[in-house]
């Protein structure tokens, strides 16, 4: 049973009189505990792909099943719920709340789950310890280095125990040494049983992943586990 099943996903934008085909018929399945990289040059549709996988954007056409739920029929509020429970986002620019300290940032997704403050604190502090930031919980984002900020973001993604971790160029704003540290963290998370999907244009990052899907002009150009496409649901 696959965790993610995309069937004939299309995303078209209208730019004036022209139609831009950001995604043009994507079929892909991802199973639990896979470690997948989407690669491709800019404009290949990999970011759009990630937005659709993360339920931030909805496709023009096609069907998307996430953990057995057909996502396209959901309302905005239900999509928020899915993002909260099933998905952990890690962004290139970290996207932490600037006025909240590390602990508060990690606690934030749990607020939307109506978890009490004490329990929220406990879970968030656990997640921060997991990513090695146990000693910096009361620092504001601008008091942390890039690598530390990305760790906070990872802790925030982990704290809700989502089905998938989605990372959009997670090392794009980091130097190479910190990048390696972050990727090591991802490797560990994968070995702990998490499902990771990373969008990147760097080959060194993609090398960490066990499955690499290359995109080109809104289509899948190459998928080294192509046989999974025909796997029955």
């Amino acid at each position: 049973m696959s965790l993610i099943r995309l069937h004939n996903i299309k995303k078209y934008y209208e730019m004036g009189s022209q139609v831009v085909k950001a995604l043009d018929g994507i079929d892909v399945s991802i199973s639990p505990n896979e470690y997948v990289a989407f690669i491709g040059s800019s404009g290949s549709g990999k970011s759009t792909m990630l937005n659709i996988l993360g339920c931030l954007d909805s496709p023009t056409e096609g069907s998307y099943h996430l953990n057995g739920t057909n996502v396209e029929s959901l309302s905005q509020n239900e999509l928020s719920e899915v993002r909260n429970r099933e998905i952990g986002f890690i962004f290139q620019s970290f996207n932490l709340l600037p006025r909240a300290n590390a602990l508060q940032n990690v606690m934030q997704p749990l607020v939307y789950r109506a978890i009490g403050r004490t329990e929220r604190k406990r879970l968030a502090s656990e997640a921060l310890h997991r990513v090695g930031l146990g000693s910096r919980m009361d620092h504001l984002p601008n008091q942390l280095s890039g690598g530390q900020r990305q760790r906070v973001a990872i802790a925030r993604a982990l704290v809700t125990e989502p089905s998938i971790l989605l990372a959009d160029e997670p090392t794009g704003n980091l130097d190479s040494r910190t990048s390696i540290e972050i990727m090591q963290l991802f490797d560990e998370l994968h070995s702990e049983g998490h499902t990771l999907i990373i969008v990147t244009h760097e080959d060194e990052i993609a090398e960490h992943c066990h499955r690499v899907i290359e995109m080109k002009d809104g289509r899948i150009h190459k998928d080294d586990h192509a046989e999974q496409l025909v796997e029955p649901a």
Binding site: N51, G54, L56, D57, Q76, N77, S80, E81, R83, N84, R85, F89, F91, N95, L96, L97, P98, R99, Q108, P109, V111, Y112, R113, A114, R156, T160
Partner: protein, 408 residues
Amino acid sequence: MFFVLMESTRSALSSIWAHGLRSFLTTLGIVIGVASVIAVVSVTQGMSAFIGETFASLGSNSITIGSYTPYQDRLKGNFARLTSDDLNMLEARADGIAYITPILFAPRSSQIKYGSQTAFSQILGTTYAFQDITANYPQVGRFLAPSDNDTRRRIAVIGAKVRENLNLPENPLNEYVELGGEWFKVVGLLEEKGEIMGNSQDDMVLVPYSTMQSIVGNQTRTDIQIQMGLSEGADVDTVVQQVTTLLRSAHNLEPGDEDDFRVQTAEQLMETFDEIIGMVTVVIGGIVGISLLVGGIGIMNIMLVSVTERTREIGICKAIGAKRHHILAQFLIEAALLSLLGGIIGLALGFGLGTLISSNIPDFPPAVIPMWAVALSLGFSGFVGVLFGILPAAKAANLDPIDALRYE
């Protein structure tokens, strides 16, 4: 739902606190609006409470009748008069009257002497009923008695101010004062009543009506005032109407002629005063309405700026699972709290201002803030916050998550 409210309040407070100066300036409109209304209300309410008490002490269900001469007639030398006949007629024929008494004012000099001291005061000739109608009771000694009137006794009951002005002893009983060349024995000292708007209520000398008549002399031209106290359960309007009818017929007035007397009730005075207070309140209400409107627009403006400024934050929150109502509640509560804080600051400021004003004007009653004003101003400022917060909050809640995340 309660959870959402709690969490939104927490984050709203931290956001207000984080932009301290901006928050204060945003809510300044509300602060000024509420402060001014509370200052004015506290002063007028203090005044109104004080005047209400004063009227009650004057005898609120008393009626005063005085003669009235239109200006034209005065020029011709025709002066309207109320006489003892009128008094006797009313006493015999009017219903609903518990007490009735004439008051005869000393016509010319109202000079009083005691030893080498001289003072001026209001000298009234009246009867024992005066004390119940006007609620003036003796502190020491006695009031005028019916027999004083019958025998034209030369006695006087004096107010506290008169005793002071004449340097009479603490207990002035059995001292003699000189009024219009005659000697009067002091038999009573009235309780002190204080001042109304700077007029002492204790500056008067009461002598028996008949004694006063004999001093005034020329009884055909005397013009008296008649004071009446209503009996329990009598309707003021009915009594006034009846008294008017009786006097008109006694004075042989044709229908269409103007009354040559005026009937005044304490209630009328109070109504006039209430009308003034009411008008002030309406005007102030209008001003406050406008200032709260302006304050509300200020809050809306800043909230809209704040939504734009925090677009990215809103996108982040939506990406990690915030629903529409989470975002809506946060901004709405922030606007309401901002406005409510302004209301509270305004309340404190307004009360301080009111107290300052009334304590700096001599003889002014202390400021009083009625609970309704507190409830109204806080309720209204909270309401303004919610009202003007809806638009920005809805704008924030409806942001598309990807657009918001991409916002720079």
